[in-house]
Amino acid sequence: MERVLNTIGISLLALCFVISLSRIAMLKFGERTEAGEKIIEIRLAHWQLEGGIRTALDAIAKEYMTLHPGVRITQIPIPERIYRNWLITQLVGGTAPDIIQVGGPVTDERLARFFVPLTDIAQNPNPYNKGTDLEDIPLRDTLVDGMLGGFNQNLLEYYGVPISGHSIRLYINLNLLEEITGSRVLPKTYDELITLTKQVDGFRLEGGQHIIPIAGSRYNSPILMTTLFASQTQKKMVGLGPPGTLIEVPARTTEALMDGEWGLDSPEVRSGLELIREVAAEMQPGFMQVTRDDASFYFVQGRALMIVTGSWDATSISQQANFPYAATRIPLPSKLHPRFGRNVMGMFSEAGGTAGVTFGITRESKNSVMATDFLLFLAAKQTNQLFTNTSKWLPSVLGVEPAPEAKPFMMQAQGYSPGFPLVDSTARADTNRLVSNNYHHLVGPGGSVEQFVDAIRPNFIPYMLVDLKREDLQISQAIQRMDVQLAALAEVSRNIPDDAPAQSKFDMITAASSARDRTAYFHQHLMKKAEKRIEEDSK
């Protein structure tokens, strides 16, 4: 018996040893094609685990591998929650894939250090567009956003190629809508939306199950609430500050706040908060504690009639929901609305948004030429058509016909700029937290606009000052980096006068450096105003 066990044990160990050796040999010598050529592996990592993307990238990879039999494209999907940590480990450890989705966790420092600038390829036609109407057009001009989704404002280089557009929509379960209202007619105005939610309130499914009018979560609800609030500050924004404001600029809005041009008692702010309160009452209780996934479950399980989310969730919802649904823009109050119309200019323009799902190439890539080639293939018109047809996501290349499922999400350029938010969630993190932490005073049972304003008023400007100080530090750091980069470009362009890209970059970075300086001085000015305001308020 012992002999048998030993034989089995030794056999298993031998097997492990052989597998280990073959793995080492494979890594050492690489896989080969039938013709004996070494297979080049291009690894591509991203966090888009929503439905559609992985299938589309597989289909694109298959097409590419057919064209290039010596290349294997391997997709590495990483959950968004761990993407940042995973990415840092890979980049610092020197084991990063060839192509990586850039955005969120990829800071300027990491972009500059670990990614290849793509400005050269952005300025030249994409060879994979040969034979199409985009044949002679530089890559950046073949994309709906002018490749801004891949442009870094601080480094002044393109570091990524975006392959999909996106927009925000209100999704409605059509079966439920019909059951509740007797028709599939969608709400076209804000009042129709509210009327519909009231109908839902009085409706019960067989068995008495209650339906949530709008599924909310800490992810979805702020999208809706910010949009509604911004409809009430549209007119105000145009008149704020010095001439030239047609779009929200956080620094300018903050200065206007310090100057008393608007505040928590302004009619526009009160009206925006009223709107939020009215709509939030139609979401399930405790929605700000709920995750994005939970809200999606409410909708796909037919427990909620509506949900507000981005086009990126459409395919996942399609795959999981067993009912037809419609997607429409959020119905905002029109300027003729009796209660909320006086501050409104009109529907928001969706122009100016940037495309997403942006891929960049890492400096670590051992096959950067092939990786660049695959990136160009990804951004080609024909490939983008395959992308939208397979993923049902919006395309990013001009002239590509969106898949029928993606059409309701097409960005609509007509319209006005949205107004300013109560607080800019990106630029004013502490103030945003103050507002979020006190939302229950506004939307909770027994809450009111007055209660909410009273709760945030004492700390609103002081938190703003904290945010301004943090931003000031970030601006200083950016200026310090840019100073060195500017010095380097000045030396390079002086020593190589015919280096056109260096000359052009020196030109751009000079302009950007001055813009940064202006921002720095203006921030100092804002901080002084905030300190003065806090002093006055405390008297």
Binding site: G94, P242, P243, L246, P324, R329, E405, P408, A487, A488
Partner: protein, 341 residues
């Protein structure tokens, strides 16, 4: 207990010099001889895999590490700094400065000083060292290109890098560069830097307008388009921001625009600001001109519809092909039902 110590790196091919020595404690008395050998083999196989991984990573590290340059070229080091490889550039400059002499050493010292401004970790010591280096480079010749660059960087060090900031020292250097740095693209930026320092130091709109007029006079002496553009941009945008004289602000912005802004993110708001200022001043023709420039240059911009509306209100002809239908902002787009998958 058996202390089994193996140098696994010697068992696998590797490109680096790092040794992977793993002490292993194997409790042999609990196993039969063959199983013990088998266990050892499993560990060998597993650790070889690890060692291979380590060797690979090490090999990659070596392959991707900055190339060791015995005599780094000044330009090559600057090129590293253009792509934010500041630490590497600094090491190269320092190494080259130590092993070269004359002008080459001076150029490397300048690079060393500049890159010290961002070398990690940032420290007061580094900033002081950078200050000393700039002063040393300037002392050799304050008026050649290297000397002018050192003066510029010293001013920036006082303006933005040291704590507390020393704006007066920066101002004095910029003023010197206004006369000595004419024609040098980097040194000519002194005028625009000085503009911000001086405008923000004023205490009333009148004082600010007067300061702007004096600063604008330097524009005629500047020989580079970049120098003029940045000076006029800073003057116009700051006057507008701080509610200075609208006409002055508009004139400076028009002058800046004439030099050409290299980025949409700066050009688009500049055109709108000129149009808005002109509108406020009742100068319809100027307003129309710059709003029209905006609509012709930027087809996809969230501000476009508002600008078209302003143009139409001023009676300007707009391209009907790009003008949204008047009812568009009020109308809801057609809703579409998504096919069920």
């Amino acid at each position: 207990m058996l202390n089994l110590s193996l140098n696994f790196a010697s068992l696998v091919p590797h490109r680096g010099k790092r040794n992977a020595t793993f002490p292993l404690w194997l409790p042999h008395h609990n196993f039969s001889g063959s199983l013990r050998r088998g266990g050892t083999m499993i560990l060998c196989a597993a650790v070889m895999g690890l060692a291979q991984g380590a060797a690979r990573a090490q090999g990659e590290d070596t392959a991707n590490a900055p190339a060791s340059i015995s005599q780094p070229d000044v330009l090559e080091s600057w090129q590293k700094a253009t792509v934010f490889l500041f630490d590497e550039a600094n090491q190269n400059f320092a190494k080259a400065a130590a092993s070269s002499d004359g002008e080459e050493a001076r150029a490397n010292r300048l690079g060393e000083g500049v890159t010290l401004l961002t070398v990690q970790p940032r420290s007061e010591g580094n900033l002081r060292k950078a200050e000393t280096i700039f002063e040393e480079v300037i002392s050799r010749n304050p008026k050649d290109a290297t000397g002018l660059a050192a003066r510029m960087h010293l001013a920036r060090l006082y303006e933005f890098h040291v704590k507390p900031k020393a704006p007066d020292k920066a101002k004095a250097i910029y003023e010197g560069l206004l006369t000595d740095g004419v024609g040098d693209p980097l040194a000519e930026l002194a005028a625009s830097r000085l503009a911000l320092l001086e405008l923000y130091a004023t205490s009333s709109p009148d004082e600010m307008n007067e300061a702007a007029r004096k600063l604008a006079a330097h524009g005629t002496k500047l020989q580079t388009s970049i120098g003029r553009r940045e000076l006029y941009s800073n003057l116009g945008l700051t006057l507008n921001q701080l509610r200075g004289d609208k006409r002055l602000a508009m004139e400076y912005l028009i002058a800046a625009e004439a030099e050409g802004l290299p980025m949409q993110q700066l050009d688009a708001p500049l055109l709108i600001t000129i149009g808005a200022l002109a509108g406020d001043l009742g100068d319809k023709e100027t307003a129309k001109k710059y709003f029209s420039l905006f609509t012709s240059r930027y087809k996809r911009d969230a501000r476009r519809y508002s600008v078209v509306e302003k143009l139409e209100a001023m009676g300007a002809a707009t391209d009907s092909g790009t003008t949204p239908p008047p009812s568009a902002p009020e109308a809801q787009p057609a809703q579409q039902t998504l096919p069920q998958s």
